[in-house]
């Protein structure tokens, strides 16, 4: 299985810009399928970006976030070549993580 996470982190000046795309159905639990049954909630609860053992961005997500979510943010204190760890956990306990090099 290829990773569900795509991330690009670019250091420029004193900040690092991060963009990420996560593949996830993000079912809210309020939508019905074609035969009228509720699709049970299935969404990411925590998305975290870690640099040097410290969380630089944490998102607590719920049913209102769209399918295949996209995130963009920037933070200070990283160098080119550093590792950035991205991880998520959803309400069913499934998870995925990825280590990316800052460019």
């Amino acid at each position: 299985m290829p990773s569900t996470i795509r991330v690009r982190a670019t250091a420029g000046g004193d900040t690092t810009e991060v963009q990420a795309l996560v593949q996830h159905p993000m079912d809210s639990g309020f939508v019905k399928d074609a035969s009228g049954n509720l699709i049970p909630p299935h969404h990411i609860e925590v998305l975290e970006f870690e640099h040097g053992g410290k969380a630089v961005f944490t998102a607590l997500w719920g049913p209102a976030v769209a399918k295949d979510p996209y995130v963009k943010f920037s933070f200070k204190g990283a160098q080119k070549g550093d590792d950035l760890t991205v991880s998520w956990v959803d309400n069913k306990g499934q998870s995925d993580s990825l280590v990316a090099k800052i460019q």
């Binding site: 290829p2 795509r6 690009r8 963009q19 795309l21 593949q23 769209a66 399918k67 295949d68 996209y70």
Partner: protein, 285 residues
């Protein structure tokens, strides 16, 4: 003397009349080259500031604000997951050991611009989606749904390997090919549905105009970015999906995906886009 002169005049008049008849007959007959020229001239004259190759970017060629958002989105395109999946599927052999590549010229790489084509053996238009499912069936696999998911992933990868190649649709001098072309053209310009819209009502008459919050794409080059990730759909869709949705949006009854009429429309529209670059997979609002 006078008699001979008059006779000549009569002959000349008859000649002019015959010429007139011949001309009107030409206008009624199928003439793809003339249609192509008229179609392209219409768009280039109506949108003189849009570079020809930019028409394939649909609504983004018409609206500066949308274009800005799109440039940012393309930095991290939403079709990426489908594209990766398509690449993997394409490389994975069937149960019999053959691959998709074995069904196509050049192993299926960089050939999107040649589809659809007219198959002179079966006398019908073959689209890329149809060819992919036939390839699966010939190798003992179940066909895919034409509208999304697997089919969109495969065509996304095949379009990606053909990016920048120019549409090269051929209409052979075969009455069946010309009939398919003409049928596609007719379907494109025929009004249908409760709203009484033809494909052309939106995409020829009104490109660049807003329909609710959407900006209508020009028909010129409209298939070059297929398949597309549409935010409205929350996922990928193929050319089949686009035709089916267009029909239901005008409150008509859609045909089955890959119906002969849809394939003929695809043939017509792709021919009209000859010379324009493949830009798929694309993303649209």
């Amino acid at each position: 003397m006078f008699g001979a002169k008059m006779l000549r005049a009569v002959f000349a008049t008859v000649g002019v009349l015959l010429l007139g008849l011949a001309q009107s007959a030409a206008a009624d007959s199928v003439n793809p080259q003339a249609d192509f020229k008229a179609f392209r001239d219409y768009f280039t004259k109506r949108f003189p500031n849009v570079p020809l190759n930019d028409f394939v970017n649909g609504p983004y060629s018409m609206d500066a604000d949308l274009r800005k958002q799109w440039t940012a989105i393309e930095d991290f395109p939403p079709y990426q997951f489908a594209l990766d999946k398509g690449q993997e599927m394409f490389a994975t052999p069937f149960k019999n050991g053959k691959t998709y590549g074995d069904c196509f010229a050049n192993k299926g790489i960089g050939i999107r611009q040649n589809y659809p084509y007219f198959d002179d053996k079966t006398g019908e238009v073959v689209t890329l989606e149809l060819a992919l499912n036939r390839c699966r069936q010939a190798n003992g696999e179940e066909p895919f749904s034409y509208v999304k998911d697997d089919m969109a992933a495969l065509t996304a990868y095949m379009a990606f390997t053909s990016r920048g190649k120019l549409f090269d649709i051929k209409i052979p001098n075969d009455p069946r090919a010309l009939a398919a072309y003409e049928n596609g053209k007719k379907y494109f310009y025929t009004r249908r549905g409760q709203l009484n819209f033809s494909c052309a009502s939106c995409h020829v008459q009104s490109p660049g105009e807003h329909i609710r919050t959407e900006v209508l794409a020009p028909a010129l080059g409209i298939l070059a970015a297929m398949p597309i990730y549409r935010s409205e759909w929350g996922g990928m869709g193929t050319i089949s999906r686009r035709f089916v949705t267009c029909n239901s949006q005008v409150r008509g009854v859609p045909l089955e995906p890959q119906d002969e009429n849809y394939r003929d429309v695809e043939y017509y529209l792709s021919y009209m886009s000859n010379g324009l670059p493949i830009s798929g997979p694309g993303s649209r609002p």
